[in-house]
């Protein structure tokens, strides 16, 4: 067992108990709501520019084919068609899509010479409306030479498998085995080793709004304006500029309201490249919105697609000793984000347990499928699934109650900060308390009685249990530390906020992140309100475009509330301190004797003399001679909050460093009923106890958790990409790719325990992914529990009716 030697010196220590909080921790209603409710928010599909054209994409019907010829003449002749571009033509206007991988896997937004997955763009069109653009797509004649499709990832690894990229020696784009701790020793020492071969299929984020961009090229000053639902406009704008062939200081990216992302819209280079090529070809603004088929088939929003051979070694008393994970991950046809999802998974592979050693053996395999991107969980989701399945199996095999085996192995509260075998640090937690509360909340004994009663009727009720980590607040090192020689070993994930107080005392905040469906306006307003003692309703919030100098990695990795509260507090404190100095000067007092209470500045303990925000705002704006000598005019501050606690990986990669150290924890207890004849799994109830540190806004955190749980219900029961043997995508619309509806969701009860993070402002941790990080494995556990009389073991998600029936029949039950 390893622990952290010292508290990190770089961390800004939180002050969760500092005074009475008025706004942090309150369920302030969302500031974002009214415009969304009124239908007045501007999503990228709502942007209309004079003369704007509409783009459409002709996708490949084949999974793998050589493009023999493309005839665009009929398409070009259609009235209203402004441009038809093949891959080669688009490549003259925009550059290949930027990639994080070190391997030579070039990727263009429109395929050149060869298509590598069904739906890959072969040609793009701009026309006066989308209908005509699609007419043009239908009129393009493409001759293909169909090549063998590589569909099965394990078969793809064979030396003689059809190669997806000639630039690589093999379809295994990346393979590495990493040992942390004494893996062999722990395996040798073990009393019991439980094993599983687990399958986590690919699913996609499927936000209700697809990805899109409006690009407007000005050929006279060589500038480009882009509206999009990307998140990285204030993080990697230079990368977009490079792709679009625009100098970085002539590129303006404007964020729009975003109709959900769940990780899928970070980079979305494809839609920008398509709109960018078309605006350059036509000289007119072009909107390209994916339709739903584009989004499912060709967006980069597919999550992990893994086969695990995993084993957990335990001592006789149930102590977990070591974990080995051999993973084959089907990355699809390209490798744009490299193995970032495995960097991510490395944050918490051993879960909340004191597991001493870890072997992580990962193969990233290329096949003829759309590439992986990011989807809520981002690599840690299948990791939680597999680990918790192993723990349940150990409980079963060793005859130790499943709550008890967890309790015996939990990292104890006094062991924090806790350094995990791969190097990431967990900040704080009280896992046993969460488990105990969850068992109580669920009323386990009543459900067990109900289970008995139903079994007597031949019905199968199951009670699930999972205790999982939710690593929050990532540092960029996760993208690359699996490489010895990474192409871009970045270490920054900043978040900046600009606050100004105007001459009338009005407080305005400009955030660098976009509105992605979470609540940045509400969060920064709560923090500003806390710091100044004003009402959050009086704070106005706007979104910075890429020309403002804002720094923002935005929402992702459950970081936004952590980072925004840090940035906002920093900027607010800078301004508040300046206002205190100005007030003190005006009131002829020592600044140390002035405090800010309820939006007024007054002598400490002597409320009689005071100045309002407006008094000081006006003084700062117009009365230079009445402010302290070394103060400049105005009240404006930008604060960039960098990652609160991170350390670099060691050169030998024996220690990946701390990169995801704000670690939330949850215990979920779903109750399911399984119809063993039809295979239908019905959720009867769902209980979740969550600890994400200081809860900034309970209602909003609950919203994140419940939403994540329902996505997890989808992962457990419905969501899956399926490809035919020829590589055709069998799930290209919402009629095949199924997400839960209102009918599939039980009442979900959520409670919070709070173990503040020592690393962050106010002690907040993230909560954006926890629901989906826990629910799939918890529901698998419930199905197992339901079918325990039949001896069923769930090791593959989703548990479709057919899979459940096969399990039951395989176990000898059912009809």
């Amino acid at each position: 067992m390893s622990t952290v030697e010292d508290r990190p010196t770089t961390a800004t220590t939180g002050s969760p108990r500092e005074g009475e909080r008025r706004w942090i921790g309150r369920s302030v209603a969302r500031k974002e709501d009214p415009k969304l409710l009124a239908g007045r928010a501007t999503y990228v599909g709502d942007v209309m520019l004079p003369g704007m054209l509409y783009g459409a994409v002709l996708g490949s019907p084949h999974a793998h084919a050589r493009i023999v010829s493309i005839d665009t003449s009929a398409a070009e002749a259609i009235p209203g068609v402004a441009a038809v571009l093949t891959g080669a033509q688009a490549a003259e206007l925009v550059n290949p899509m930027p990639a994080f991988c070190a391997e030579p896997v070039p990727q263009t937004a429109v395929a050149i010479e060869r298509v590598r997955y069904p739906g890959e763009a072969v040609a793009i069109v701009a026309a006066t409306d989308r209908y005509i653009a699609e007419d043009a797509c239908a009129a393009i004649r493409v001759e293909y030479e169909v090549l063998p499709a590589v569909v099965d990832p394990e078969a793809a690894m064979a030396a003689d498998a059809t190669r997806i990229h000639e630039t690589l020696d093999s379809n295994v784009a990346f393979h590495r085995v990493l040992d942390f701790g004494d893996v062999e020793g722990d395996l040798a020492r073990a009393h019991t080793i439980v094993r599983t071969r687990a399958r986590w299929h690919r699913m996609c984020a499927s936000p209700m709004e697809t990805a899109g961009a409006v690009a407007s090229w000005n050929p006279f000053d060589k500038s480009m304006t882009v509206y999009s639902n990307s998140n990285f406009h204030n993080f990697l704008p230079w990368a977009f500029a490079g792709m679009l062939g625009v100098s970085t200081n002539r590129m303006r990216m404007i964020p729009c309201a975003v109709g959900g992302s769940f990780g899928s819209k970070h980079f979305i280079t494809k839609v920008l490249a398509i709109a960018g090529a078309l605006t350059k070809a036509t000289g007119k603004p072009v909107q390209y919105m994916e339709d739903r088929v584009d989004n499912i088939a060709a967006n980069d929003n597919v999550g992990c697609d893994r086969i695990y051979d995993a084993e957990l070694a335990l001592a006789e008393d149930g102590e977990m000793l070591g974990l080995t994970l051999k993973i084959v991950d089907d990355y699809g046809a390209y490798f744009q984000f490299a193995h970032g999802q495995h960097g991510n998974a490395m944050a918490q592979p051993t879960g909340p347990y004191r597991i001493g050693s870890l072997r992580y053996d990962v193969s990233c395999v290329l096949t003829n499928k759309v590439q992986q991107g990011f989807f809520r969980g981002a690599g840690a989701d299948p990791g939680n699934f597999v680990l918790e399945r192993l723990v349940d199996k150990a409980s079963e095999v060793m005859g130790i109650d499943r709550a008890e085996i967890r309790r015996r192995n939990f990292i104890a509260p006094e062991q924090f900060p806790f350094k995990t075998p791969p190097g990431n640090v967990y900040d704080s937690g009280n896992y046993a308390a969460v488990l105990d509360r969850a068992l109580e909340l669920a009323g386990i004994d009543d459900w067990r009685a109900e289970q008995e009663r139903m079994r007597a009727e031949g019905r199968y009720l199951g009670i699930g249990l999972a205790t999982c980590q939710e690593r929050t607040g990532y540092n960029a090192s996760e993208w690359w530390f699996l490489y010895d020689n990474p192409p871009l070993p970045a270490t920054s994930t900043p978040e900046s906020v600009k606050i100004d107080v105007d001459a009338m005392g009005g407080v305005r905040v400009e955030v660098g992140c976009p509105l992605w469906g979470n609540s940045p306006e509400t969060v920064v307003s709560q923090v500003v309100a806390e710091e100044f003692g004003i009402d959050p309703a009086d704070v106005s919030v706007t979104y910075a475009d890429s020309t403002t100098g804002a720094m923002s990695a935005g929402p992702g990795g459950s970081r936004l509330t952590i980072m925004l509260s840090g940035a906002t507090r920093g900027a607010a404190r800078t301004i508040r301190d300046k206002m205190i100095r100005i007030a003190a000067h005006a009131m002829e007092m020592d600044p140390a004797d002035v405090e800010c209470v309820d939006g007024t500045f007054r002598a400490k303990g002597a409320p009689g003399t005071s100045m309002s925000m407006a008094d000081i705002g006006m003084r700062a704006a117009l009365f230079f001679h009445s402010t302290p000598e070394d103060e400049s005019s105005g009240l404006v501050a930008v604060h960039t909050y960098d990652h609160p606690y991170s350390t670099p990986p060691s050169d030998d990669r024996k220690d990946m460093g701390a990169f995801y150290p704000m670690v939330s924890h949850a215990c979920h207890i779903p109750i399911v009923e399984v119809d063993v004849e039809t295979g239908l799994v019905t959720l009867r109830a769902y209980y979740a106890v969550n600890d994400c540190g200081t809860v900034m806004n309970p209602t909003l955190v609950e919203g994140q958790i419940v939403g994540g749980i329902v996505q997890g219900i989808g992962a457990a029961l419905m969501e899956e990409y399926r490809y035919g043997e020829d590589g055709a995508l069998d799930t290209p619309t919402f009629r095949e790719y199924l997400m839960p509806s209102m009918h599939e969701v039980p009442e979900i009860v959520v409670e919070h325990l709070e173990t503040p993070s020592p690393f962050t402002e106010y002690g907040v941790k993230g909560a954006g992914e926890g629901g989906r990080l826990v629910a799939p494995t918890a529901i698998a556990s419930a199905v197992d529990d339901a079918l325990k009389p039949l001896g069923v073991w769930v090791d593959e998600l989703p548990m479709t009716p057919e899979r459940v029936v096969n399990l039951v029949q395989g176990a000898g039950g059912g009809s």
Partner: protein, 294 residues
């Protein structure tokens, strides 16, 4: 995902509609509720040159009962049928199956006849029509003919309808006392097309034994199909547990189900057996009861 161009015709009466269909033949599609057709057109899986919108045709929206027959005109909405007291009382299977079709807003536009004419092999209403021994009333400029449901469905999304013809109504014999009906299905998500569904009608004879039985399956073949071996097994039996089990076991005989991402052919055969058993049990219970409780 936008439809290809087409000419839009909105006839005001049936003759005008039939003239237009005669003129445009196979180039024309009839648009009623549009909840399936427009979806296909958006995906360009259907690109008719002419769309004949019959929503304004007078007289097609009648839902009437006479001489032991319930007749639903071509623009009777699924929601109307589902909530109709006449349908509930005299063809409860149609109401029960109809409640499984998609969602209320879709049903309030979609029509019963449209679903039948669309002939999706997975859809509920064609299967219910088949189990009810219903008829399809077809009109063209050259006259009217009636097609038994057994003969109407010829393959996936294909029917015995000829170019120039349209379905003006479906008719079902009213379900009388002593007959029980049931519809059960497995859909992966509420409101989705079923992976498999079973519609059953069972009549109790005066001798207490099972008389006429019709079992129709959706999701089990290239068109809605009868489970004739199961029907034969049940007919004349005592309708008890063993008889139902025997009938259910034979429900998959002769089926050649389609396979898709929601279920393999084998799984659909399995469901056909399971759901036939469930549907028969319910239908037999209801046949024994005074009323058809839905």
């Amino acid at each position: 995902m936008k439809p290809a161009a087409f000419a839009y015709l909105a006839p005001r009466d049936l003759d005008e509609a039939l003239d237009q269909l005669a003129e445009h033949g196979a180039d024309a599609r009839v648009l009623a509720g549009g909840q399936s057709l427009v979806r296909l057109m958006n995906a360009r899986l259907a690109s008719p040159a002419v769309v004949v919108d019959i929503n304004r045709v007078a007289g097609l929206d009648a839902l009437e009962r006479h001489n032991g027959t319930l007749r639903l005109g071509a623009t009777v909405r699924q929601r109307t049928s589902e909530l109709s007291p006449d349908v509930a009382a005299h063809a409860p299977l149609l109401a029960e199956a109809g409640a499984h079709v998609a969602h209320a807003p879709v049903r309030s536009r979609g029509t019963v006849v449209g679903s039948v004419a669309f002939a999706d092999p997975s859809a509920e209403l064609p299967t219910a029509l088949l189990a009810l021994d219903g008829r399809v009333v077809v009109r063209s400029r050259s006259g009217e003919r009636t097609v038994e449901a057994d003969d109407f469905f010829t393959g996936p999304f294909t029917t015995s309808l000829a170019p120039g013809e349209m379905v003006v109504a479906v008719e079902v014999p009213v379900t009388t006392a002593g007959t029980g009906t049931a519809f059960v299905e497995v859909a992966r998500r509420h409101g989705d097309l079923p992976v498999c569904g079973v519609a059953a009608t069972v009549t109790r004879g005066d001798d207490g034994r099972v008389g006429a039985t019709r079992i129709a399956l959706c999701g089990a073949g290239e068109r809605p199909v009868r489970a004739r071996a199961a029907e034969d097994a049940l007919t004349g039996s005592d309708g008890g547990t063993d008889a139902v089990a025997e009938a259910a076991a034979r429900a998959s005989e002769g089926l050649s189900p389609i396979a898709d991402c929601h279920g393999s052919a084998d799984f659909r055969r399995h469901l056909a057996r399971v759901l036939t058993g469930r549907a028969l049990r319910t239908a037999i219970d209801r046949a024994a009861g005074e009323a058809n409780d839905v």
